[in-house]
Subunit: 699 residues, 2 copies
Amino acid sequence: MENSLTFFQVLSIAISALAFATAFWLYRWVSSQPSSNAKVAEVGQLIRSGANTFLAKEYKTLIRFCLIASLLILVFLPSPIWKDNVLDNVVMAIAYIAGTVFSAIAGKIGISIATIANIKSAEAATKGIKPSFMAGYRGGAVMGMAVVGSSLFGISLVLLLTGNTTALLGFSFGASSLALFAKAGGGIFTKTADVSADLAGKVEMGIPEDDPRNPAVIADNVGDNVGDVAGMGADLFDSNVASMAAALVMAASLGNPEKNIAMVLCYAAIGLLASIIGVFTANMKEGGDPTRALNTNTYVTTAIYGILTAIATYVFDFNWRIWAASAIGLLVGVIIGIATDYFTNDNKKPVRAVAKACESGPAFTITSGVSYGLISTLPAMVGIGISALAAYKIVAPIGAGGNEVAYGMFGISMAAVGMLSIVGMIISNDAYGPIVDNARGLVEMGDLGDKALEITDSLDSAGNTVKAITKGFSIGAAGLTVIALLGAFMTEVNDAIAAMGLNIEKITGFDVTNPTVFFGLLAGAAIPPVFSAMLMLGVDRNAQRMLAEIHRQFKEIAGLKEGEPGVKPEYDKCIEIATAGALKELIPAGLVAIIATLIVGFVGGVHAVGGFITGNIVSGLVFALFMSNAGGLWDNTKKYIEAGNHGGKNSEAHKAGVVGDTVGDPFKDTAGPSINTQITVVSLVASLTATLFLTLSIF
Amino acid sequence: MENSLTFFQVLSIAISALAFATAFWLYRWVSSQPSSNAKVAEVGQLIRSGANTFLAKEYKTLIRFCLIASLLILVFLPSPIWKDNVLDNVVMAIAYIAGTVFSAIAGKIGISIATIANIKSAEAATKGIKPSFMAGYRGGAVMGMAVVGSSLFGISLVLLLTGNTTALLGFSFGASSLALFAKAGGGIFTKTADVSADLAGKVEMGIPEDDPRNPAVIADNVGDNVGDVAGMGADLFDSNVASMAAALVMAASLGNPEKNIAMVLCYAAIGLLASIIGVFTANMKEGGDPTRALNTNTYVTTAIYGILTAIATYVFDFNWRIWAASAIGLLVGVIIGIATDYFTNDNKKPVRAVAKACESGPAFTITSGVSYGLISTLPAMVGIGISALAAYKIVAPIGAGGNEVAYGMFGISMAAVGMLSIVGMIISNDAYGPIVDNARGLVEMGDLGDKALEITDSLDSAGNTVKAITKGFSIGAAGLTVIALLGAFMTEVNDAIAAMGLNIEKITGFDVTNPTVFFGLLAGAAIPPVFSAMLMLGVDRNAQRMLAEIHRQFKEIAGLKEGEPGVKPEYDKCIEIATAGALKELIPAGLVAIIATLIVGFVGGVHAVGGFITGNIVSGLVFALFMSNAGGLWDNTKKYIEAGNHGGKNSEAHKAGVVGDTVGDPFKDTAGPSINTQITVVSLVASLTATLFLTLSIF
């Protein structure tokens, strides 16, 4: 069989193209679904144009940030330009820009389809659960295909054109930059709008949640799309690219690099293929259970991936140990997802216990929710640890005779690649959630009837349950990826030592009894809490600004308060404020993480940075898991009470549940998931600037 | 000059005796202060006997636990008894028991004086601020002297009798066992009583906070004493012993062990001497500022310690580098304390911002408080990291020629000894808080007048402010101590390898790129969140039990609800329930930490344990700082609002502030400070069982 690297690069590009074709077909399919209700169309159009406003503004800010970053890259990375390697720097800068552009395009496609699919799903709900589900699911799948197709396409293209794996770190850093804006910015946006819409509408004015008089109501709906669709997509684009980049950087530094690289690309391509097949198997009978339909896809895709990679390993004579590492990654991902589900599912003890605690008031809602959120970190932490250990131990023997460590770290990176192999399916399931959530809102606002409401309710609830599983999956994968990035950092440092002919011993690890490493460890562990706190405080400040605008509109627009016909609030003003504020608030938080990395590196050198990355990973994972799971738990607790338990809606327990949910919202939608991106950014900044720390650090 | 080890052992014992004499003198002084009000005496007596009930019950449970633990030690530690070293095991078991007994005695003394001093301070408040302050402060100082005297006495005695530093780990483990019961158990007790007294009294019955009809009201006051006095004392006894034990274990393994050990004892003795002097300089003028008086003592003691140790270093020809390490530890402790104060002081931005957020409701109180709590971890984490790094770098060169690492770790342990050198002063200041807090309650219940109330209010407020500083101090010291214990663990492992003639390479460190270490790191990082969550859930469960008892009493005791004269609730029943429940709830949490250490050790071996300890330290410090500071911040926010800001008492902001305070209570009084103890317990269990992991682990 043809076994050369080029074959697999072309294969990857071909399967990426297939993903794009699938996305295009699904896009057309969703668009061709019927829609006729004028009211639904009007509100849908407002949401669509609001989301586009946010994206346009975000991308505009990003271009400026990107220009500065790429200029810095051009001058300093991979090593200062005055050291006569101009071409490398140009390649790196271009790769960086490509990383942002590819991710941005995928985000744009996702938003575009999500704001069509919500309308289609809403109207289809009048016909039955199956067409409504299919519209929502296939809309989500467009996002899934676009994200994974463009990430694999980008990686393969950069590799094909440059033949340089270090350039992949540039591409990955570009993806991280965008993810930081999209995920953290989107997270601040969505919570800003949510909080101020609730405060101004429900609390101050006493009007219902989705009252069109509320100037923030459209911003609130836009938030679901920019946070949960575009933000989530950029986050997973970033994780996926980072896992591949880490694996490829290490693959290139091992014996027989061409074959290793070929294998990484082959597995990634098969993962994408399995996701494409999985998307088309997604189906449900009229009256079926949407949760089961979504989970079935995941298991089908997992099985297809396992079988196809085994065949490929046999046919192309890849190493079975590496196959096993990737399979373990995927398996543990599924297990972590199931464990996460336990803590957020309203059929299980934690949600029930917190709901009971709500009867004693908001303080107990918070302490019990925090407690279960904290406990929920254990299975995932141990799971990530075990999968990393197992992958390492399985792959390390390949390097017998001095190269065990490098191969072991490569094994961990392959576990991450395996865990993320079905990311196309994960994104499809994840994006389905906000689409049917929006659809539910449109059904209500468009008066499409009780049956349709019931259907979209059940679709929405399935989205919440599945989300917990996919979220655990993506945090687990991020954990493995960043461990792999720690290996990539070490590889980069040692490559630089060799390339520059420095008289320094190669780094063989980061020893915690080395006080420089320990110092880095403690400093790195403090960054995720600070980062997430800055985002949460940013939401508070931004909400204050938006509230002021809402008050202004109620005061200055005659007849708005009274709901006179034809008088409409200036929805776009609120969207602009949420957008501008979100971007303004996220930048300091992002800079804190980046600058802290640079300070630690320039002061303490590479050992301090190794500790810093490690501390950052460890505490970042704990806080990401804690915040995401506690937030999900409170959300479902509130819904459980609203379903008529412990007094139901408007009871004292419900009020306490609302407080829990309001605390949980920034936990799970702003701070928690952004920590993933923060960890990746820190790891990449460290790897990219490794050379600088070697030559310029104080100690 | 006489420079032999025995001289310093005798010196330590002599200064410990001086501390006991001081404690005795202060005890007599406080007891001899006038008291005459019958109502104050009655309530005071109820609190006193309640606290003694708790202690008696706690110690009874502890004896059982202790017997099992010492039996296990006798059989297994320091190495299995069938390996023919029975005497070592007997010594270890006795040292363990001694550790619990010495700490228990100090706790008993502390409770005894605290429940006298509160009465004296209350009645003295009718005469002026000076006598009231002095009664409170000198009461606290009895605890300070008793704790530090008995810890230094115990350490010196064990060393003098056995000449075996490993036995010190047994003594230290005994102290940790007691601390686990006293701190976590006391923490659960105090919050159980607090929560159920509030729920039953204020919420359900609508009676005031300290209404004597409420069966839980005495338990609530008892809680302050068992949690904040006895618990805090046991915690710092534990930290102090652990820091000395870690330093002594390492000192014994270095060149010239006798002189090193002498130096550790000498510095510790000087610290105690400085604290004794500091206690007697504590004074204030009538109309003076109590906060200033308390802080002045701290600075005076710090300065005396610095000067006296410098003189001793010169006279006895100790190494100046080690002196510098201990001085840096102390200095950084003070700096961390000041930084912590920023986040909890109501004159600073964080408390003001959270108070403002209270106006928007409880959810914002929580999110903003959580945010500032998270940010507050940064200065302490960086401070601990820097002091460890500096101490290591300063001391390591002594071991030039192959022993740098061991000396460096010794340097870190000396920084911990330095930071804790003024622990006598810290405990005195800390115990002052709950005494004057109780005094304030007694003034109110005994109707001692507005002037006295105003005075005790200002004394109480000073206690809160100073507490923040001392709390930062003690967490910082615990951080350094456990880093030193990581070094002690490595020393124990290598000693065992040598002693048993195993064919294993000596351990030179724990490398995070070793997946076994990384696995341990992730697992260890998950333990503090799980441990603290279990304690918080324990409070909830226990409060439910106590509520049921309160309801029973109101139902069954005729005339109680109506407040008929002569009808009294059965206070002791509530105290018994809180006590039994507290002990029941803390045991699973403690066992989780201990068993997890053993599982990781027996499965992954010493490298996994090294990672486990490290992860435990890193995440434990972050959560201890976060929870303690967020809790303190909410407490002061509520007080700030009650002082008339943002609408003052009974405003919407105040209600939100109460929710924050109720969440913060278990954070700062149950979970947060218990994490310190948990970290120490894990480190000590690991060090003690190191030999077992070497011979019995699976991998």
